[in-house]
């Protein structure tokens, strides 16, 4: 009589347990991506019956579309701006909070508070802060002799404003991840480095940073992915009376939504979505290759 070995039964149990989750994941995540991919090769009008196959026409049009190219440029500037601003800052804050101090829980809570605040009310508060006429930001820069600025109207400043707000929002999350990583580094290594004469910078440079590389990889990847999907803060921050952001901070997700649900061009919007997917996956792969090898 055939009898399953314990090992095989364990494997079967594992597969059986995972199967529903995998099935749901395939259905709600992978299948829509596949459908979007197929739609991108059609002239898929949201409301017309005929949806003819047009090959790569949508993709070729994207390369000529100045609005798409501007959206791509803005999104890239915002994504990398957020990574370059938030990742080092959150690492710095995490290092400062890693040493046990009495007020650490207060600071950790204070830095984490923006993460749990809803994006819309937080952005509305920033919209007031950055208001050209009444916002405190202009008062702040005025102390340094800087003239009042149109933070949300000037195209460059509007991009900077989105980077600033998004970095403030994500800083607490990244800080907590770094903090967990730093606290898991064995104290013996720091003690050995100190005995060898290493100062605090050298301990950070040669002990903390190398051991944090996997965490740094995770934080960078997550920040890039989230930043490329930037939408809500841009929509609220740069919306006009009609509730639509102007050209100054047009980003990819907004362009996709506008083409799909405003101009009914679902095929074209799908091609844009696929481009976004490819960009994010490529960047993630690059980060994996460059950071994982060294980790």
């Amino acid at each position: 009589m055939f009898r399953w070995s314990i090992s095989r039964r364990r494997w079967l149990f594992a597969y059986a347990t995972l199967a529903p989750v995998v099935a749901i994941y395939l259905y709600i995540r992978i299948l829509p991506i596949g459908q979007t991919f197929l739609m991108s090769f059609r002239n898929w009008d949201l409301i017309s019956v005929n949806k003819p196959f047009i090959g790569f026409e949508n993709y070729l049009e994207l390369l000529r579309d100045v609005t798409f190219l501007r959206s791509l440029r803005n999104t890239t500037v915002i994504a990398f701006g957020i990574v370059f601003l938030s990742v080092p800052l959150s690492l710095l804050v995490a290092v400062l909070l890693a040493t046990p101090r009495k007020l650490n829980p207060f600071y950790e809570t204070a830095y984490f508070l923006p993460v749990v605040t809803s994006m819309v009310p937080a952005t509305l508060a920033w919209k007031w802060i950055l208001d050209a006429n009444e916002g405190p930001m202009n008062q702040f820069v005025g102390w340094f002799g800087v003239e009042p600025q149109a933070w949300l109207i000037n195209p460059r400043l509007a991009l900077f404003s989105v980077i600033l707000l998004s970095s403030w929002k994500i800083l607490g999350y990244n800080m907590i991840i770094f903090l967990v990583g730093i606290r898991n580094i064995p104290q013996d290594l720091y003690a050995a480095a100190t005995i060898d004469g290493a100062g605090s910078w050298q301990r950070f440079r040669y002990v903390t940073l190398p051991l944090l590389r996997p965490i740094l990889l995770f934080v960078s990847v997550i920040t890039v992915i989230q930043s490329y999907n930037v939408y809500t803060q841009v929509y609220v921050l740069a919306s006009d009376a009609q509730g639509a952001p102007g050209y100054v901070v047009r980003v990819l997700v907004y362009d996709i939504i506008e083409n799909g649900f405003r101009f009914f061009r679902m095929g074209y919007a799908s091609a844009e979505a696929m481009m976004l997917l490819v960009i994010v996956m490529t960047l993630t792969l690059i980060q994996f290759v460059t950071l994982r090898d060294r980790a």
């Binding site: 949201l46 006429n133 109207i153 009376a241 009609q242 509730g243 405003r262 101009f263």
Partner: protein, 416 residues
């Protein structure tokens, strides 16, 4: 037997619950200020139909348009939708909304509405929408600011608009404007920027899109009229410095006193009445003519209550209440609006239109929203581009490039 009794009791309970809950009728609108109007009509309607539960949903226009675009193909839209005729055109052409009942079509084609509104609510020989109100522009100006500047009335020509804008601009010690003489729509997304530009373009006898003799559509602004209109904006922003994007403008700026005059639709009258009722202001006709965008009611299914509700909404007392309290202009022409104009003189420029005043509308063609939105994005950049000052070649190049994009969109939509 016991089972039968139980089943009978459950059936009775379900029946009683259905009666108690009554029928539901849903109405969606893209103009939040219209909620009070629909609520008033609903109150009237439910007085005669107490079993009907009416659900009214309003939200900002762009979000609303996205909502109905998704809801209609999935048959999850409200029974009655309030949509501008230009936006509704694609939905009707896509077969997503049925024509009105024969009775209602006959009523719409009768004397109640001007042909302009009937045509804009029709497609392929059938009437699909019931004309409800229109968005129509006119000049709003602050009487006190005009008197302080020694101006005894509104500008009559476009040259006077330019002079008035300079005279009415207030500046601080360093010469920077603190109050715009004439607030122009310089920023924002969507098609609003292009629509406002179109109104100025119209004064110079231009149009954003034009239909040729063979029925196709082309960009209509790559010409002298377009250059004049754009030069107006560029000069006022960059050369004369009478207005800039940072200054609060539009209805909000007008109410706060940071602009002396601006062009807008009649809803501003209702807005001013609720927010700054003591504001001394008047309205005036534009030099040549203005925009009029019809907004209609469409029925998405065969719910008879929907048609009955629309009949209630068209009652003269509700139409008069609409213009008096919300500010949007009812489209029924068989109602005497004199008492309303007497009580709100600012409505004169909206309701008593001379015959030679040329009205235009956004044509109900499928690609018009994309044409306007894309052109608007270019305009926003051009308005603040100081390089275009005294640069007719630069303006011409801008218009040519934008017109090429417009024509591409029209061509892709099969309109060329």
């Amino acid at each position: 037997m016991k089972v039968l009794r139980k089943l009978s009791a459950i059936s009775m309970l379900v029946l009683l619950t259905s009666v108690a809950l009554g029928q539901t009728l849903s109405i969606w609108s893209g103009f939040p200020e219209m909620e009070a109007f629909y609520q008033r009509v609903a109150d009237d309607f439910t007085t005669d139909n107490p079993d009907v539960n009416i659900e009214i949903l309003t939200q900002p226009l762009r979000d609303y348009e996205r909502r109905i675009t998704v809801a209609l193909p999935s048959n999850s839209a409200a029974d009655i939708l309030e949509i501008s005729s230009s936006f509704a055109a694609r939905l009707v052409q896509g077969g997503l909304m049925p024509p009105l009942t024969e009775d209602l079509q006959t009523f719409v084609r009768g004397d109640a509405f001007n042909d302009f509104f009937v045509e804009n609510a029709s497609f392929d020989g059938d009437v699909y929408g019931v004309p409800l109100f229109r968005g129509q522009g006119a000049l709003f100006y602050n009487i006190e600011m005009f008197e302080e500047a020694g101006l005894d009335g509104p500008p009559q020509t476009m040259a006077e608009y330019l002079d008035y804008a300079q005279t009415l601009t207030a500046r601080d010690d360093s010469g920077d404007p603190t109050r715009s003489g004439w607030s122009l729509r310089l920023t924002g997304g969507g098609s609003g920027v292009a629509e406002k530009f179109w109104t100025i373009l119209h004064q110079f006898e231009g149009s954003l899109v034009e239909q040729t003799d063979d029925g196709s559509w082309v960009a209509g602004y790559n010409n002298e009229a377009g250059a004049e209109a754009l030069r107006y904006y560029v000069d006022l922003v960059n050369k004369l410095d009478t207005v800039n994007p940072e200054l609060r403008g539009d209805a909000e700026g007008f109410q706060l006193g940071t602009t002396a005059m601006f062009i807008r639709e009649s809803w501003v009258i209702g807005d001013i009445a609720s927010k700054t009722p003591d504001l001394p202001y008047a309205t005036a006709l534009l030099p040549r003519g203005t925009i009029a965008i019809p907004v209609n009611l469409y029925v998405t299914n065969d719910n008879p209550l929907a048609y009955e509700f629309i009949e209630y909404a068209l009652k003269p007392e509700h139409q008069l209440w609409l213009v008096e309290n919300v500010g949007w202009l009812p489209n029924r022409q068989d109602i005497d609006y004199t008492p309303v104009v007497e009580s709100i003189p600012q409505l004169e420029a909206f309701l008593n239109i001379p015959e030679d005043h040329v009205l235009f509308t956004v044509p109900p063609i499928s690609a018009i929203d994309e044409v306007q939105t894309r052109f608007a994005e270019r305009l926003v950049a051009a308005y603040i581009n100081a390089d275009l000052v005294d640069n007719p070649e630069g303006i011409q190049a801008f218009l040519a490039e934008a017109a090429e994009e417009t024509n591409q969109i029209l061509s892709r939509a099969g309109l060329q």
